[in-house]
Every structure is written in C-alpha cells, then in structure tokens.
Symmetry: C2
Subunit: 456 residues, 2 copies
C-alpha cells in the first residue's frame, strides 16, 4: 500500500518537505515504499482512457506517469500519461493540498509513476494537448510509486516531434541511436505505442485470416545447421527479424498459393485500416505519409513487364539481372503512377537470381515459378513454388555448388512422396514500416539487432 | 496436368505395363510428369473429408496418399489418406479398368500421392478402418503425382499402434529415434496430425484469450548476450522450446497477474475440450489417458503446504529445498487425490531456489513472490513478481554473484520509472504433452532439438 511514510529510496527533497512543520496535508503525499505485494487493498484504479465526462464529479484513483509538470504560483499542472492516453491534473493550495504538497508535486521527476486520488472535473475549454480533452483531475492525494532518475536521456516531447517542425522552429528532435540506446523510454512515446499496437494487429490479422482459411500454425526450429547471410548494414535489414511464413500444398499451379498469400495481405491491410485508424493517425502526426493503397484482386506483373517499364524510364538492365534497391523503388513509383497501388506482386523472376530450391518455369528455362511482393516499392515477401522432387532438387543444388551433405535432411524429406507446394516469408518489421510509411526498419523492431547492436 | 505419358521418374514396373499390348485402359492410369505449374486445369479436387453420402453417385477427382493397397484377384482395394482423413477406393477390372490397371494400382508404392477419378458409392456395411465410413470410391482413373521410394523407414500403421497392443499381440511399434529420424513420415500419422493441430489450437487460444483481455503481442530478440543453461537430457527438456510468455503490470499484488495467467490456462483447457475433442480422442487411441481435470478458480497451494503434504507422505525435505522431479510428480498425485485437479498453482517458492530478479516476500525473507504452475504433476510455467527497483535488483544480482556488466542493459531499463509487474513463461511443448497425457516432450515438438539431435 502506498503511504506517506519514509521511503527506502530516500530523497533529499521529499524528506525536507515532510519534515517541515505545520503541513496540514502531510499525509496526503509522499514517496511510497516499494510495492512488494504487501497487501491487497480494496482500491479500484481507473484507467486514464476512462476519465471522461461520464465520470464528472467522481472521486477516483489513477496510476500514471508524470509526463510533464508546470508550477505556477499556488498551483501545479501535471500531465499524467498511461500508455497512449493522458489527462491534465491540477494540484492547487486549498483544503486538500498545502503549499508543501504543491511543491512536492511540482518536483516529482518526469516519468515517475504516481498514484493520484482526485475529483474528475469537466473543463470549459477543451484541453488540446491531452487525449482526455473534456475533463481534468483535481488532485487530493499524490504518492510516488516508482521514482525515475532526474535526468532523462531523451525527452518524450522531442521524440515525437516531426523532423520538419524541429528544423523550422529550431526545436530538438531525437536521433535514432539515442532512441535505440534508451529504447525503454522511446517505447513510451505515442508514436511507438501506436507502431507496436499496430504491429500486434498485423500478427493477429495474419493468423486470424489463415486460421479461417483452414491453415495450421506450426513452430519450426531456429537452431539449424545452415544459416542465411545477408548484408545487414542497410535501412531494411536486421540480423534478426520476425518472419511470418506460409507454406501450402497446391493442386496444379503455384498461383493458387500466391493468390492466397496476396489475399492474406489484403485482409491485413483492410483490418488495419478498419481497426487501427487511431494508431495510423498518431504515427502520421510525426511521420506524415499518404494512406496505403491496394487493389483487389492484387496487381500481378511479370518480371519482363517490370523490366520493360524500367527500360522505358531509362534504366539499363539485362534480362537476368536482379533488381537493385533503387530500381525496386523506381519501379514502385512507376507502378503507383500507372496502377495507383502501393502493393503488387512481381512474378516469374529469373531463375538465376533465386535460391536452388526454386521451381524452374517449365516453359522458359531462364525463368522460375517465383515471386516477390512489394509495399511502397520495397520487397516485403519472397516466395516460390518449391521443388518437391528430390532428383531435380539434387541437380539444382549441385548447379549452385551446394554441399549435398549439408542439405541431406532437406532433400531426404522429399523421398517419400511430397505434394507440389509453394509459400513465402513475410518480414513483419518491413510490413509495419511500409504500411505506416516509415523509413527505417529499426523503428518497427522493438529491440533491433544489427551488426553494431546487441543491446539493450 | 497429370497424364499417362512416360515419366521423368522412369520406373520399371509401370513402363512394362504401359508397353503391354491390348490394354484398353492405358490412358486411364500412369505416372504423371512432375507438376511444375504447366497449366491451370479447370478440375475441382474434392477433399477426402467431404466424401460423404451427400456425394453418392457423383464422379469426383481426389488427390491423396496411398495409405495401403491390397490386391485380390481382379480387384485392388486402396486406402487413400489426406491429412487426418481416409477413404476406401476400389479398382476392379471392368469397363473402366483393365487387368493391367489393377496391377498398376496394386503396385504403387505406399505414401505416393495420386490423383484419382472415381464414382462415390454408398456402402452397405460401415468401413470401420476409415474416417469416411459410409462411402467408397470406385476408381476410373489413377495417376501418380509424386512417387514415394518403395522401402519406407517406418510403417504408419506400426507408428500409431498402442504400446500395449504391440506387446500383447507381438506386433511392431516404432521407437522414438526412428520416428524422429524420419519425422516427415511420422508427422503423417493420425496421432501426429492430432497432436499438432491441437498445439496450433493452444497457440490460438492463448492469443485469443489475451487479446480479448487487452494484451498486446510483442516480439522480443532471441539474440541476447546471456543464455540460460539447463540439463536437456531429460524427457521434458529441449535445447530449443517455444515459450508463450506473459508480462503484466499490476496494481498492488502479484496475485492479480498470477490469477490472469491461471485464467488464461483455464480458457485454453476449455477451448481445447470444446473444439478439439476429435484430436484428443485420436491421440487417446494410441496413448490412453484420463481426461484432463481442472478447477475454477484454479487451486492455489503455498510451498509450505506442499512440503507438509510431501512430508506426510514420507518425503524428507528442508524448507528451502527445491522440488525434485520425482517429488513434483508425487505431489501431483497427492493433489489429484485430495482436490481432484490436474492443474494447480504452487505459490511462494523459497527465495533461495529462484533467479535473482525474483521479488522477495516482504513478510518472510526466505520466501519469494513467485509461483510455478503444474499439469499432471509436471511444471509447465514458472513465474514471479519481478523486481522493478534497480537498487534492489543490483543487490540481489550481487548476492547471486552475477557480473553486473553483463546485465547492465536489464538493470538500466528500470532507472526511469517502472510499474510493479509480474509474469510467467509457458512451455508450449509441455502443455501439449501433459494435456494429452503423453510422456515425452519430443512427441510434441515438430523437429525437436536436444544435445544429441540437430536434424532433421
């Protein structure tokens, strides 16, 4: 139970205040002892998001972080934050609060967590800076539950300031390394809250859609004897990422699978636009971008068509060359211009640029039954019909100079009858980044790992 | 498209048959060329589970595996299997099938995948050995789509035979190493199909319950600088396992979290019993066990109560000793006897046997605010209130002799205000194993990893 008794985290200022004489409010504030589950009090804590006009004139208890505080004569305004919601609170000298109590409140380190008892009061003018715009909390008691250190490595208000506004008005923004070094604080911003709630939504919509289609979720080992090496020093690569993978047996043509995957993506986009509008708008405030556009059914282009579009735009490329990142982006622009979509499938990649287990196109030995999917001009999924015949698989592995011993278990798995099948792997961080129009995959990985970062 | 033309997988027997003269059915069977997505035929493939009396007298196409075949004079009976469903098929000399075609069908290697055209016929006597008991398929065409090698490393019928039946009747069963070495085949058995469909259900129910409670799914890094070392040479440890983890801020007492976790488990148990009865019964056929029992709300025992029960049963244990595996099991029996439940919480573990970040009990310095949860006498979850105060965390780490440099990022994460919180990690493979009353966690891991196994 929070109480005003001396705390184990002894602090100069609170002690000094509490020791002062003639403080009629001295039981009404302070630093609580650490919550160690000492008791189960009968107290209901109201959620900040529930502080609305319906609760006007009620006395409530709220637990929240001190987002900002501003003392002004005999009163102190606090903004109290809880996840993505915040509310204004007022501590004013009067029956409930003494001068000392106002001073105490004004001196609580930002980001500390407090328990506050207060009366919910309707305000005459909407509070534009808070999510709870119609009420404020008139504080009667305030106890610090968890004290933050006084010097924050980054300010939350700086961390959500749009780059452009920072530049124009000469105000601070926070660079990415500072954010990532102090990710536990950076994750508290409204932008981060929105990003990761939306990402949770992607996972949920992905599984919901596939379970409804009759898929079964499986868990595959991460400890394997063959690893994949990619250059991770880019804006869109991490040394560790979350893959949402789909594999599906088909009847006669891998397009059966490709279309299921594309439809799954469309269901995700629709679900996000329906259920996460608030989060999208929150992120847009800091990182403005056009709403994500897609077609139904999904646009499918063949690789040779894409080459023709790029060549028409002046790009020089051979038929069997892979797309460079700048060319992928350029193609994205061309496709957007011509078809008005941010999502499309690029089908029939050159066999030469795909992994050994990719099924060759039976009609054109230089092509393959493989596809990538793109969002805003960047690849978010690679997929293909997989070779299900162990003999052809062996031939292709040898062609690629792969040591057969190392992939024996893989090839053997096809020796006892395997249906034709195809699939694809979706990069969760990339889908989040590109749906929201962000520019670095580290923004959409909670604790990103790259060649230079193993902590926090 | 499947066709009767010579296949790239040349096989002695089929060729010989196809070369034979006067075969009026020669276009109606054979080995198809590999499906490489050559065409998009207009053919509908009916699912085996949909072969019911409603389809009687219809001509249908079905793709399935040859589970067994048995020739008998001028006819051949096949059992065709698709995932967890199977149906009897009959190839008999007549208008549609020649002698050669019957011989071809009888010689198809088991586990090969075939496309079959046939008429659905109602049968007079239920076919007890198949899931589709009321109909059989009268085959008019049969093409091999993917040929299995002739010698299977294990027989599926042996692999689902109950241990007891094998011993009594002197019939073969399959040992675990053979299963795991040939996991792609072992996963095709009705038992495996049921186990992993139910496991998918656990994941789904876990997330469904928590999303409904307002939780957010997050992805944490697997690449970290501190690893956990446990003895993995037991029936219930793997070097890699799937953890379903929950962390939650609470108000005043960690029981708020513990009770949410227990309720989540109860929702999973209920969901499994409601939605996966077929799967449970399928597994029970091979591995008989009592239905899983649980109470609502979940039974909570304190560690000292458990000690008293064990001591009464003759076990000698000190107050701060950890539970050995045999004692856990014995305790499970005692609890089942006394309270008639297979699921319970053991609360208030001795501080000495828990990790450094466990919150000590404020009322008893030898106890901690920590708990394990048990299914059928085995631990499936470990959890606790985590220390959220960086100073106490540092003290406890030093007490455990931990190098502070190595956990700096962890301790630092609490320096800027942290709410009291608790959580727990659920072992997915153990929950699956114990709910179904299985005896080895390798049965419930699709591709298990242990100190002796890195493949397949």
């Amino acid at each position: 139970m929070p109480s005003a008794s001396a705390s184990r985290k002894s602090q100069e200022k609170p002690r000094e205040i509490m020791d002062a004489a003639e403080d009629y409010a001295k039981e009404r504030y302070g630093i609580s002892s650490m919550i160690q589950s000492q008791e189960k009090p009968d107290r209901v804590l109201v959620r900040v998001r529930d502080l609305t006009i319906q609760k006007a004139d009620e006395v409530v208890w709220v637990r929240a972080r001190v987002h900002t505080s501003r003392a002004k004569g005999k009163q102190c305004f606090l903004v109290l934050r809880q996840q993505q919601f915040n509310v204004q609170a007022l501590v004013a000298v009067g029956d409930h609060a003494s001068k000392q109590m106002v001073k105490f409140a004004a001196n609580i380190n930002k980001e500390s967590i407090v328990d506050v008892e207060g009366v919910v009061r309707k305000v005459n003018q909407k509070i534009g800076s808070c999510t709870q715009q119609d009420v404020e909390l008139h504080v009667q008691k305030i106890y610090v539950i968890s004290l933050a250190e006084p010097r924050l490595p980054l300010q939350l208000d700086d961390a959500v300031r749009p780059e452009a506004e920072g530049e124009e008005e000469g105000r601070a923004t926070v660079n990415q390394d500072t954010r990532l070094d102090n990710r536990v604080i950076d994750l508290r911003t409204s932008t981060s809250q929105a990003v990761f709630r939306l990402q949770s939504g992607i996972c949920h919509l992905f599984r919901e859609t596939l379970i409804n289609k009759g898929f079964v979720e499986i868990q595959t080992p991460k400890i394997i004897s063959v690893f994949r090496a990619e250059d991770s020093n880019t804006h869109r690569h991490l040394t560790e990422f979350v893959g949402l993978d789909i594999e599906m047996a088909f009847n006669y043509h891998y397009h059966e699978v490709m279309e299921e995957i594309a439809d799954t993506m469309v269901q995700i986009f629709k679900g996000l636009q329906e259920r996460f509008q608030t989060e999208i708008q929150t992120v847009n405030k800091q990182f403005p971008c056009e709403p994500f556009k897609f077609l139904e059914p999904t646009l499918r282009l063949e690789y040779c068509e894409a080459l023709a579009m790029l060549r028409e735009a002046g790009v020089e490329m051979g038929d069997e060359d892979d797309l460079s990142t700048p060319n992928e982006k350029l193609l994205g622009h061309l496709v957007k211009e011509k078809y008005d979509t941010d999502f499309y499938i690029l089908d029939k990649y050159p066999l030469a640029v795909r992994p050994f287990y990719t099924m060759p196109d039976p009609r054109n030995p230089k092509q393959s039954n493989s596809y990538d999917m793109f969002m805003r001009g960047e690849e978010i999924l690679s997929g293909a019909q997989r070779i299900h015949d162990p003999q052809l698989l062996t031939e292709r592995a040898l062609h690629h100079g792969i040591d057969l011993e190392k992939i024996k278990a893989y090839i053997d798995s096809f020796r006892f009858g395997a249906p034709p099948h195809a699939g694809g792997g979706i990069g969760l961080e990339r889908v989040t980044m590109l749906f929201l129009g962000l520019h670095n995959v580290r923004q959409t990985s909670m604790f990103p790992r790259d060649p230079k970062r193993l902590t926090p």
